[in-house]
Symmetry: C2
Subunit: 188 residues, 2 copies
DNA sequence: ACCTGAACACCGTTCAAGT
DNA sequence: ACCTGAACACCGTTCAAGT
């Protein structure tokens, strides 16, 4: 007599995302997830391959959403304007899903990390625009400069690492403006 | 009959740093630290206030070391050259103490975080140089741009988040060069 | 004064037993 | 086929008991 399913991978990952955002990675226990979806913790192993696998699945979902957000933001066709729009879109996304965003760049154990394919797709949109504001030969380096600054700014903002006062919105706008100016300037 | 001391705060924090670098934050258990210093786990509570307090003390030690490294790197007096030297010094430090460096910017629970005073001291050296390459009124925003990029670059490098190929040393030199160019350029 | 074993409330994970 | 309780090996933390 087969026992009827009480949950699903999707329900588990969704519950996991909510718990992650509410209680942080430490609060994301299999027992909490199990309770949220209405089973006992051991039953989760029928759908997922343990806690690391759950974290990886959550990261993948966040990365896919962030990728879609990025694509949406790059619509004018003007690479300078698109990069600014993408930067703001990423920052807004990070504000809406702080723990999920942090997961994408966290130094997690091997096998917990986001699917490299998703990460590459994420870079592609920025890479394209960066190759148009900077000399094409510098496209990858230019994209890395933008992404490093963007992720660094958002990460520090979330970790409350900007201790001194001062308007962070203004600092963000200043940063992307000055970086684009540097990339657009002809290097000798 | 008083029992003789078998360990000290310094020994505990030092052992903790070694275990952190070797096994990561998850591996930094009080049992592992206790074994390393030759006592049982409950005895640690005579010196430190639990695991969070240990993490905070380790962060503080790392921050102080990084601060000293930064000061050492800024010696030419030329702010442009000093900023480049500081950027390289931070990256080298992060390579030497990857888990400790990550701790400084990790989104840790309240009460685990590094002493704000140390964080501010850390920024001060960069802030001074940034205020000389950019207009003085933009000093704080300029410093934040450099620090965000620097921390973002190093964090992504450590999280293996730069998936595409390409020379990272070259990308690093390119990044600091272009950012300084942007900061030095007169904004209209 | 410091150290210890025992205990408690949690974890993740495995597995035999139920339906 | 899926779910469950029990069990195991770990955690952090508290505390009474030892010296």
């Amino acid at each position: 007599m087969p026992a009827p399913s009480k949950t699903s991978v999707d329900a588990i990952v969704d519950a996991g995302r909510h718990i992650l955002e509410a209680d942080g990675l430490d609060g994301l226990t299999l027992q909490a997830v199990a309770e949220a979806v209405g089973v006992r913790a051991p039953s989760l192993y029928k759908r997922i391959d343990g806690r690391g696998d759950l974290v990886r699945r959550i990261s993948n979902e966040v990365a896919a959403e962030l990728g879609a957000t990025l694509e949406d933001a790059a619509r004018t066709g003007d690479p300078h304007a698109d990069l600014i729009a993408m930067a703001h879109a990423v920052r807004t996304f990070a504000h809406q899903h702080p723990r999920g965003y942090a997961l994408l760049f966290a130094p997690l154990p091997e096998g917990w990390r986001v699917d490299p394919t998703l990460n590459a797709q994420l870079s592609a949109t920025i890479l394209r625009a960066a190759g148009e504001v900077a000399p094409r030969a510098d496209a990858l380096k230019a994209a890395r400069t933008v992404v490093a600054w963007l992720n660094g700014f958002v990460s520090m903002e979330q970790a409350a690492a900007f201790r001194l006062s001062g308007d962070l919105d203004e600092a963000f706008d200043y940063g992307i403006d000055r970086i684009l100016a540097g990339l657009e300037q002809q290097s000798d």
